[in-house]
Assembly symmetry: C2
Homo-oligomer: 189 residues x 2
DNA sequence: CTATAATACTAATTAGATTAGGAAAATGGC
DNA sequence: GCCATTTTCCTAATCTAATTAGTATTATAG
């Protein structure tokens, strides 16, 4: 049997592909092995279990998100940076449904590795908030507001949960307006 | 074999209990049957499959949410009603992690029954927004903003995704402030 | 050119969902 | 109260997917 010449990152990447095309539940060791042209037990050379594979997918998603968000906010500052970063987040979620689903579902502060992955992301976000004339304490809360909105809105869109035909893109932009105006109003008090 | 005297709603209720105590993944036909004191094949007298059971759990969650939100906003109007309703949503999510998870995960506008369940909920929300001096078109968008935030924030809290010790309750209240101030600012334009 | 490690395989086990077929309990009509 | 029907439950069997065990083959280091 010729070796397939795989490595862990290739396995994760293929799992990401499967997740994005068929949904996270379509990622099984069986389907993944088949997609890679090997037998499912062989996957244990790369991952410890199906659960671990999904966790890797979660980390993979957060790494990619960080990269996109970082890139999107480069060279921009203030509320524009916040907007650009939010759009990058949303765009990634829309274009990578399966991986995003994994990122959300296993989005826990359980261990060091998961924290390390999101730490970089937080650096970016904190830096943006520093340029926003917002107190450190409020920033802590408002970042949570943004996280909540971005993750929830993206999840809803990915689930086709908005039943009516009103433009989703417009809803997103208007939501950003509301959030930003709200933050500004808060600081003026 | 003495009959257990079950019916569909008792089965769903027990599934909800299992989901809330051990997480949605802890709900298997095996564990559910055991909790009910019957054998797993007997469950097919009440539900067509595991997938259908989870769907029922989703509907169960939305029905309960509607009831809570309706109750919370009774006798209140304007932005206070929005606040109370949001708090009721968040509270339910916090106190019913497993069911809420099911409600989110299967939150699609797939079929008539799912739409019927959430239709009542939307009536309540639309009525509140009518008292808010917000145009019908904007209301459509802002409801999505609120849904996004509420679902996302609740999910994050349930996943312990907020790693630092800053008060989550305060974050929630401040988020409502921001959202409401933002909406007001929007109307003043 | 060999020793070791890495990669892949087949075969077997396990858990859980589901199906098939049958027995016992409840129910409705008389 | 009694029978026919339906409902509820059971055991046995099947199926799919994860996982484990054990082995062969390919790569790689020296």
């Amino acid at each position: 049997m010729a070796k397939a010449g795989l490595d862990k990152s290739a396995v994760i990447a293929k799992a990401a592909e499967l997740a994005n095309s068929g949904g996270l539940d379509a990622v099984t060791l069986k389907s993944l092995a088949e997609a890679l042209g090997i037998q499912s037990p062989s996957l244990y050379n790369y991952v410890g279990s199906l659960a671990e594979l999904k966790r890797e997918l979660m980390l993979y998603g957060w790494r990619q998100l960080e990269e996109r968000m970082l890139r999107a906010s480069a060279g921009v500052s203030g509320y524009d940076a916040l907007r650009e970063m939010s759009r990058a987040f949303y765009k990634y979620a829309r274009e990578n449904k399966g991986v995003f689903d994994a990122a959300l579902r296993y989005n826990k502060f359980a261990d060091g590795e998961a924290m390390a992955v999101t730490a970089g992301l937080f650096d970016v976000v904190y830096r943006i908030f520093e340029g926003l004339n917002i107190s450190r304490e409020n920033a802590e809360h408002l970042i949570r507001t943004m996280r909540g909105f971005l993750e929830g809105f993206s999840l809803l869109v990915n689930n086709d949960a908005f039943g009516n035909p009103v433009s989703v893109e417009k809803s997103f932009e208007l939501s950003l307006d509301v959030l930003i105006e709200g933050m500004k109003a808060l600081e003026e008090k």
